[in-house]
């Protein structure tokens, strides 16, 4: 009898475990509309978790400045961790949000924040920025010091609230083979029209070349939308607006370029376009549009015997539709803060974010190591950074040169709207671009029309 009871008991325990697990499926994320507690940070001991993607050399910089930060706030412990790539950060956090185990601070891209915000997990920063509590808010001078395009990225979520702070940024720049350009007396293209003429010219000099390589198809499409002023996406209402005639026409134009052999992209080429640019083989490109942060990849390897670079790299801004109203994409990580039950954790997180984004020395050093550009203007006056920029050249100091070019176009930065599904739109227009440029057809318009329609369909289904 006892044994039977035991048996029954076991089954009951098992069932109970299962049922209880199903039952308690409720959980609350942090409050979005954060209210700064009275008195701001009370000095209590808190431990903050910070997810990022920094490599070892950047982590070293970060560690140095955490020490500095702790001199001001000794009770705030920062535990930071490299969580693989940007995608890994997003996957990890979106899983953790489900149970409220998300970190305090994280590297983010706008679409990540849009995703986290579906659960309302990201803290609105407006109350913190505007707080009058001691040491909390940003002063007007501090606000003004931010490069406006970068700062405004934090407000691209369709509700005019501020969700992220920029940490370090990059954009796309045009790398060109300066040696070749000088040799053939070629002019740098300011507009896409000039670019077309230039490509034709280069093709005549070197018929086996592909004059221009564009690293990212998606960036290309989005930037063109921005330059033409035609709709791409919207954070509110109907999200996917890119199926329009302007966009179709530039896609059609680039298709012709591609068919003529003027241009290729990373996916179309089947390898890094930077590789095509720097390699000294039968096929070459003489221009390459890519991230300003990847400048070292756009520099050819030194000749083993002479120890010199085979050619000099020049860097300039990307071509524009309208040279007087330039638009270049803004990329690079921002920081967001997650809601927590203890408001002191949120305030402390903010203090750390504020420290990283507004400290000149940190911004300068971080930028020099990473190849990204700082987000505050005053870094330019930092002696080390000024020195760094002054020594820019197309060889050993190419990172500085690229930074210098970025800094020159502060006003041109744009960001596209972020919402849950914005990364999907990005993927789709990238694929669309490749398809429309390459697919063989007799009826180009029909191809383009259906590709656009399919892309919108796919976006809408998946969002």
């Amino acid at each position: 009898m006892k044994k039977k009871l035991l048996c029954v008991l076991l089954i009951v325990v098992m069932l109970a475990t299962t049922v209880s697990l199903i039952a308690c499926n409720k959980n609350s994320a942090g409050e979005a509309n954060f209210v700064v507690p009275e008195g701001g940070y009370d000095g209590s001991a808190v431990t903050l978790k910070f997810y990022h993607t920094m490599g070892a050399n950047l982590r070293a910089v970060l560690d140095t400045y955490i020490v500095e930060f702790n001199k001001i706030y000794p009770n705030i412990t920062i535990e930071h961790e490299q969580v693989g790539s940007y995608d890994d950060v997003r996957t990890q956090i979106s899983t953790e949000i489900n149970v409220g185990a998300q970190p305090n601070i994280a590297y983010c891209y706008p679409d990540h924040v849009a995703l986290y915000n579906v659960a309302g997990a990201v803290v609105q920063l407006d109350n913190l920025i505007n707080s009058t509590e001691e040491g909390i808010g940003l002063s007007d001078a501090q606000k003004a010091d931010f490069i406006q395009g970068y700062y405004n990225e934090g407000k691209q979520f369709g509700d005019e609230f501020m969700y992220t702070m920029p940490l370090s940024k990059s954009t796309e720049v045009l790398y060109y083979n300066k040696t070749f350009f000088d040799e053939h007396n070629l002019q740098l293209p300011k507009t896409w029209a000039e670019m077309e003429a230039l490509c034709a010219q280069i093709k005549q000099i070197d018929p086996d070349c592909i004059p221009l390589g564009y690293d990212s198809e998606a960036n290309w499409f989005i930037t063109m939308c921005e330059q033409y002023g035609s709709p791409y996406t919207s954070a509110t209402g109907d999200h996917f607006l890119f199926d329009n005639d302007t966009n179709k026409s530039f896609v059609k134009m680039f298709r012709e370029w591609h068919k003529k052999g003027y241009v290729t992209t990373q996916e179309i080429y089947g390898a890094y376009t930077s590789g095509l640019f720097i390699e000294q083989v039968d096929t070459n490109s003489y221009m390459s549009i890519g991230s300003s942060a990847g400048a070292t990849h756009q520099r050819p390897a030194k000749d083993e015997t002479t120890g010199e670079y085979p050619f000099e790299v020049g860097i300039t801004t990307i071509p524009q539709v309208n040279a007087s109203n330039p638009k270049v994409i803004s990329q690079g990580p921002s920081l967001c803060i997650f809601g927590k039950e203890n408001p002191q954790e949120v305030v402390a997180s903010w203090l750390f974010v504020k420290y990283l984004t507004t400290t000149v020395a940190f911004q300068a050093e971080f930028s020099m190591v990473s190849g990204y550009v700082p987000v505050i203007k005053s870094v330019g006056e930092h002696p080390a950074y000024a020195n760094f920029i002054n020594n820019a050249d197309g060889g050993a100091n190419i990172a500085a040169l690229s930074a210098k070019v970025c800094l020159q176009q502060e006003a041109a930065y744009y960001t596209s709207p972020a919402f849950n599904g914005s990364s999907m739109a990005r993927d789709e227009v990238g694929a669309l671009m490749i398809k429309c440029l390459t697919e063989n057809t007799n009826d180009v318009d029909a191809l383009i029309n259906s590709a656009f329609a399919d892309a919108v369909d796919e976006c809408e289904y998946n969002s």
Partner: protein, 300 residues
């Protein structure tokens, strides 16, 4: 056949010399083509491994060239140094060994008990239950991850050894393997033990386990290898630096300082480092693994 006549031989006489020669030719060709086939397969199999090794010896710049090189222009070892120094090897090894050993032992105990029940004991619904267990192998496991994450979080297990050990202790596959092995032990042994008044557990310990040893050893090795190689789950639930396992610690996407892209040469170096012990284990225990697989006989 009363007349005792000699039966007629069906096979015709062979021309002995010709046949012998033909035999030799056949043998030589047969051997040649067999080796040729096996060596071609071996080359195909080895190629990605080779690729992994040479990639780990390339500079990042060379790796990114559009025309891939089949031998590094410049052999560099710093990728290994970086993979090595980026991780806290001592802790990683300690954690991996603890998790590997404990989970293997517990898993063995559970697997043995479960397989024993399914192989020897009789109760209502046994077959249905076993079929159900096998059925779980059919479900795409990807969906379990989030639910299981929730579960272990609620149990407060995040960043503990428990979370690395407990959730995957039961492997239906191993239960299945071992059950097959147990089933091949004759029933008469069990009956004899029962007559002698031997308890089930004693019988299990004294008779079945020794007889099924090859399978148990191969399960042990496979489980250990699994612990060494597991990535997805530990990566999700044990992120604390002092809780990470070797694969996570070494593989955790080595990113380039600038673009944030994965630095593949370093990652390849890390992957190679992680693979070496596994490979050694296979070389040393190949005999047991083979034995276990063949003995278990995987029959319906």
């Amino acid at each position: 056949m009363a007349e005792n006549k000699k039966a007629t031989v069906i096979m015709h006489e062979r021309d002995i010399e010709k046949t012998s020669k033909l035999q030799v030719v056949n043998n030589v060709f047969g051997t040649f083509f067999r080796y040729l086939f096996l060596i071609i397969v071996a080359v195909v199999v080895l190629f990605p491994f080779y690729w992994m090794i040479i990639s780990s010896l390339k500079t990042l710049a060379e790796y990114r060239l559009s025309v891939p090189t089949f031998w590094p222009k410049q052999v560099v070892w710093y990728n290994y140094v970086e993979a090595f120094t980026a991780a806290n090897l001592g802790t990683l090894f300690k954690n991996t060994v603890i998790v590997g050993v404990v989970s293997t032992i517990l898993s063995l105990v559970i697997t043995v008990l479960t397989a024993f029940v399914f192989a020897r004991l009789e109760f209502k619904g046994k077959n249905a239950l076993f079929a159900m267990l096998l059925g779980t192998m059919m479900i795409p496991g990807e969906l379990f991850t989030i639910t299981n994450y929730e579960t272990v979080f609620r149990l407060g297990w995040l960043n503990t050894y428990t979370v690395l050990i407990v959730p995957f202790l039961v492997s239906v596959f191993y239960v299945y393997l071992l059950r097959q092995s147990f089933m091949q032990i004759p029933d008469s042994l069990y009956l004899a033990a029962k007559v002698d008044g031997t308890s089930d557990l004693k019988y299990l310990w004294k008779v079945m386990i020794p007889l099924a040893m090859p399978t148990i050893i191969s399960i042990t090795i496979l489980k250990m290898m699994g612990a060494w190689n597991s990535y997805m789950w530990p990566n999700l639930v044990a992120r604390d630096a002092d809780m990470q396992l070797i694969t996570n610690g070494l593989r955790n996407a080595f990113t380039e300082a600038t673009s944030g892209d994965t630095n593949f040469p370093v990652q390849m170096a890390a992957v190679a480092l992680v693979s070496i012990p596994l490979f050694l284990v296979f070389i040393f225990f190949r005999k047991y693994i083979m034995k276990g697989v063949s003995r278990s006989g995987i029959k319906g």
